[in-house]
Amino acid sequence: MRLLVILLIVAFAVPAYAVISAPLSLFWQAFTAIGMLVAANILVRLRDYRWALVMMGLSVLASSRYMWWRLTETLPIGQGFNAWDIFWACGLIVAELYAYMILVLGFVQTAWPLHRKPEPLPADPAQWPTVDVFIPSYNEPLQIVRPTVLAALALDWPQDKLNIYLLDDGRREEFRQFCEEVGVTHLTRSDNKYAKAGNINAALQRTGGEFIAIFDCDHIPVRSFLQMTMGTMIADPRVSLVQTPHHFFSPDPFERNLNTFRKVPNEGELFYGLIQDGNDSWDASFFCGSCAVLRRQTLDEIGGIATDTVTEDAHTSLRMHARGWKSAYINIPQAAGLATESLSAHIGQRIRWARGMAQIFRVDNPMTMRGLKLGQRLCYTNAMMHFFYGLPRLIFLTSPLAYLLLGADIIKAQGWMVLAYAAPHVLLATITNSRLQGRYRHSFWAEIYETVLAPFIIAPTLLAVLNPKLGKFNVTAKGGIVDRDYFDKDIARPYYVLFLLNLAGLSVGIGRLLLGNPHPDTVLLNLGWTAYNLLIIGGALAVASEKRQVREAVRVRTRIPAAIAAEPGGTAHLTDTLDVSYGGAALQAPEGLSVQPGQRLQVLLMPQRSDVWIDAVVRRSGHRMIAVEYEALSIAQESALVQALFGRADAWMQWRDRQDVDRPLHAFGEVAQNGLRGARAFFRWAFGALLHRAGDRAARSSSA
């Protein structure tokens, strides 16, 4: 078998080498580029997934050909070039090599997503194993944690085989009282060593379930979670981890500030929608810290959750894989949580992830670690390398300025030749990624996501590579509220510096073009690149324009059967909800029921499953809609609300189906629109700040 694989590789490698390295004139290269683009446009229309593999091959060929040409013919070495040119050229070529490596590794990682299905459980529930549910918390407010605990209590699993533990590292009295009230175990420890990992490890010492289900304290499980995941564990005793997606029912800062919630897939959806499914086919699904079940035996074997890095989850699964344990990923949302509210909190969380992955890269490098299979090495390496995108992204955003502003020749080639080689490389990668990832990441949106985070993750990743012991665990803030519209000028500082630099480059470039530059094609190429960069940076500026959250509690648009009674014990009017939150609900007004704002009534959610009425006050009525706000909830009422809103098995399953499909040109239009909006917001803020400052100065001088 191995020989056959080697023979196949050689059989493909020889002609591939010929295609990649063949030098062509501008005419023939342009001809080849057009041929490749036509082929990609035909292939993208073929629904059979095997054609997507052909597209990957074609894209890799186009990109390899471009890289070969760049490395062998375009480096500014020799007469007419100085050290300055070489410095800029080296920066760009390193960034391009990085992007090429990520592209190829990404294709390998997601070549054949597994789409694993839940395994059946033994017919007799007496044979089902015991499960401990861990809900670690440190400084989150109780109202964030309550729904998670109440939903865990409603998990469909034999009650004598299910134990729920709230791991309270904050050692708070109100948490203890709540646990006592609802009947779950409140676990604390004397210190906070190793943060979340240490908290879980301390709980492992004091509990005894065969399996551990872990939920972050703001990730609320649906009632089917354990039955969906545990079958896989029981069917194969070598499976140590079953991970499910992290789903968010509130918009993250990108979605809120760019108004793309439930229209454009969010930043994390590519990972949970496609990459983890791809990892699963290589037996390399990672532990993501929450919404997962782990086998206690494995945790005991590897010494518990890893504590050496700040991304303890991925590190733990890496150690499990190195010991020969398997993992599984079930791509069915079985829990949902709150996304980070503000851009600064979001960036803080991503910095931790980036730093942690860089730490693992140093501490337990997957390419050299013993016990891993090749596929696992590649998947983990790609996951870690991904977080080094900060520097390459900044290089791409500034490279054309080296030519336009500083006059450096960083690519030793004519503009048309660069276009003939680069166009198939960039466009084929875009079309192929759209074919593979379209449901989970729209084209060009990664540029905005990466641009926003790039300036902030460069230093932490580089420092973590130099010294993995630097820094400490920072808890992601959740459940806050953005109470006003504002431009986050501190976060946006790197974006507007980049924006102004590119604007200057564009102006100088236009000037050079109008004054008669001897290489107008090169100037035009760099101008086009700069204009594109301006749109992307504009998108980042738009993300930094924080939008006010209208409501304190996140409303989930969902149609749940409900009943309304105008008075306790009175006749019931059946209806459906329009949206529901933890603080209130909007319901379709039933015929024959007339209510007035301020009127008290009762609402029953899911009458076929629950008989707990919730007291509420009408806040608005009209247009066939009644909006109510709940009054103080008892534990039973709160539990009924949690089960109806968050605990339904179908709560999040078809969430993705309602997003728009990716159309690259349309996606580019959206990105450009956001870019222009961001630029406008920036100018408005900048002029406002200048006028304000000038006014202050005038007032000071007149008073003096």
Binding site: K117, P118, E119, P120, L121, A123, P125, A154, D156, W157, P158, Q159, R223, S224, Q227, M228, G231, I332, R557, T558, R559, I560, P561, A563, G570, T571, A572, H573, L574, T575, D576, L578, P590, E591, G592, L593, L604, M606, P607, Q608, R609, S610, D611, V612, R648, A649, D650, A651, M653, Q654, R658
Partner: protein, 169 residues
């Protein structure tokens, strides 16, 4: 929200509909279906009754308010259907015929459609208003005298009726 599918929370049905494995789902916490006394004016939304059981005692206590009955299983409901011709017609809209408890709206079958359609055709709407019996306002002996009055006397009596003396007497 017309595009939004209605939640059923029927996991087994969901597994079948989305083709996600052969898992046989077990319910451990028995759902406590609410016993509702439904409001009368709800003909516009008949399907909502599908998932609701009603309290027969409450229905007896308030006959004027038509109440849903406990849903019969499909096997029992079918033989009862022919009896609807001989039994007294129900004093409620057939549109309020309850469906089985916990039956998923996704679980559409022609049998269910038949169960809903036949009673609505077999038993046309009959209203029993149960009004009190009429009583006479005037004695028969006095009625003749009243009818023989002239128009002027009638108007005169009307004017007197609004006067304070009339009220006192």
């Amino acid at each position: 929200m017309p595009d939004q599918p209605k939640s059923s929370d029927d996991v087994q049905q969901l597994l079948r509909d989305l083709s996600i494995g052969d898992l046989q789902y077990r319910e451990f916490a028995k759902p406590q279906a609410a016993r509702l006394r439904l409001a009368p004016n709800r003909s516009a939304e008949p399907p909502a009754a599908a998932s609701t059981s009603a309290d027969p005692a409450a229905a007896d206590a308030a006959p004027a308010a038509p109440a849903a009955e406990p849903a019969a299983p499909a096997a029992v409901a079918a033989p009862l259907l022919p009896d609807t011709a001989t039994r007294p017609a129900p004093a409620r809209s057939p549109a309020a015929t309850p469906r089985a408890v916990h039956e998923s709206p996704l679980n559409f079958t022609f049998e269910r459609l038949r169960r809903q359609a036949i009673p609505s055709r077999a038993t046309p709407l009959q209203l029993d208003l149960k009004l009190p019996s009429r009583t006479r306002a005037t004695l028969p002996s006095r009625l003749d005298q009243l009818q023989k009055r002239s128009l002027a006397e009638v108007f005169g009596s009307l004017c007197r009726a609004t006067s304070p003396q009339r009220n006192i007497s």
